[in-house]
Symmetry: C2
Subunit: 318 residues, 2 copies
């Protein structure tokens, strides 16, 4: 869809980047909401002004957050924080847009991982479509590549899907430092959150794998179906031992044989899966074309926003 009018829900790193970049992709943001406020302009918001206000006053505008849904938009962009279980309030935002026959593009993983079947049901009853490239692998076009190859011809998907965990493990291996030390370094660099559990416990990677499983199998998976182990208990000595054998340890997520597994795994030091730093990689096993591996930035404001805006471009005219 060209020249789409976007209603953006969420004004964190990704939401801010969507505001900044929408114009370059030929789209217009007509409304934006954060958790406590909204700004609406049917002719298109002044992104710079909104972002300055957010920066200075902590709010995007003077309207109620709900006002976003009354704006004349084509696509609801759901980029508010991922929540688990009932995936609220994100799920209700998506429901509202689809019931109004509008399109939805998500970077919010909650509705797609935890309520996929409900989401597809709402979509089927709507004139609008749902897209969520940004939920898996950030800038890596994992889902559209799988879609393009036809999920039926994809036999397995595995990958390094969390940049924080990968940064920690590759630094531990490269510098011979222990987990606590590298985690603290990552937090200083802004690569890990003050509460890093979502990343280091493997939950973030697991949500992405659950989404992949839903896409490959047409639904039926939630986070509860994933077998998840994180990286908090890996001693530096394990990495040294692995290294003597030409291997290293990475947090790998895999969807194959109907199962979803995330956990630390030994991989060849110079192999495909041994990406460094915060990079992500998605490896797609295909029926006739062998393995395809796509690597790139799995997170970041502009990186994730570019995936969101690419999805807007893929939507059909309403």
């Amino acid at each position: 869809m060209k020249d789409a009018r976007l209603a953006v829900v969420g004004c964190g790193a990704v939401g801010r980047s969507v505001l900044e970049l929408a114009g370059e992709y030929g789209h217009r943001v007509v409304a934006v909401a954060d958790s406590s406020s909204a700004a609406v302009d049917a002719d298109g918001l002044d992104a710079e002004a909104v972002l300055e206000r957010k920066s200075a006053r902590g709010i995007v505008g003077d309207a109620d957050p709900d006002a976003v849904f009354d704006a004349p938009y084509d696509v609801l962009v759901e980029v508010s924080p991922t929540t688990l279980g009932d995936a609220e309030p994100g799920f209700s935002h998506v429901k509202r847009a689809l019931e109004a026959d509008r399109h939805v593009v998500l970077a919010n993983k909650g509705p797609v991982a935890e309520r996929y079947d409900d989401l597809r049901e709402l979509e089927a009853a709507s004139a609008g479509s749902v897209r969520f490239e940004a939920t898996v692998g950030g800038a890596i076009p994992a889902l559209s590549t799988i879609d393009d190859l036809d999920p039926g011809h994809v036999t397995a998907v595995r990958g390094i899907l969390n940049g924080t965990a990968n940064f920690v493990l590759s630094r531990m291996a490269a510098e011979g430092l222990d987990y606590e030390h590298v985690l603290a370094e990552a937090q200083d660099l802004g690569v890990a959150e003050a509460d890093p559990s979502f990343d280091v416990e493997g939950t973030d990677a697991a949500l992405k794998c659950v989404i992949l499983a839903n896409v490959l199998h047409g639904g039926g998976y939630t986070l509860a179906d994933a077998d998840v182990d994180g990286i908090e208990d890996i001693p530096g000595s394990a990495l040294d031992l692995a290294s003597e054998d030409g291997r290293t340890v990475r947090l790998v997520g895999e969807v194959s044989g109907g199962e979803v597994r995330v956990g630390p795994r030994l991989v060849p030091q110079n192999g495909t899966l041994a990406v460094s730093g915060t990079m992500n990689i998605v490896q797609i096993e295909t029926e006739h074309a062998g393995p395809l591996a796509i690597s790139g930035h799995g997170a970041g404001g502009p990186e994730t926003a570019s995936a969101v805006l690419a999805d807007v471009g893929r939507l059909p005219r309403l």
Copy 2:
């Protein structure tokens, strides 16, 4: 397009695989031609029978090759050998199909590298569309990924685009053997042709880069615009020297700053571009999402055929 009727011109490794796999992708081959014969069946050919005949008698059928164009087809699949300059007879096959308002999917690089502007002109005047994913990187969805990201947001593309040259260089590096020795080994394995010049001189990689340049810039490039150096003069000592510095040598093709260059280049031994064996990799520099790298099988019957059949699936209904 679903359930497409395919007219396949060319019955080498790729053509044979298209015949074998078309059914799995939901399509039907109604005609196939090699250089001296054709077989036609509006209800769909018996692929096994045709392939047996080709194997036993060297021909696909009893009809004249031209008969392929009279079959009731939706998509012409041009998988005959790549030719340079006027790109004939492939170009005329494509012209005929487009003038009959049919779609065209190519694995044949000639028309796309050498006569891109003519091709797009014929396409503009036709109800049919032209697709050519299989011409660059075999199974790697390079062109559809670029298309999806929007060529306007892609600042450069580089890659390892020839499996033969890459195999030779990675074997020279891994085993410390010289060029002649490894080339002979590659020929024994069927990885290099009896006349390997197309691959080792860099022509094949250059054609693929010219195609990428045409896609990124909307035309204007032919093989003559590429600056091409092959791998025939690289001594084993160059690889040893590189290795002491943590690097190796690969035949890299690049499209950037309006230029097209193919030549041997020093790359980090464990870096993204140091793929091994016959694997290919395409690295796409994007404006906001950083670099994306996609690796996979760049050649092979089933691999290339899967790219052809994926293209058929992307075509609009006629």
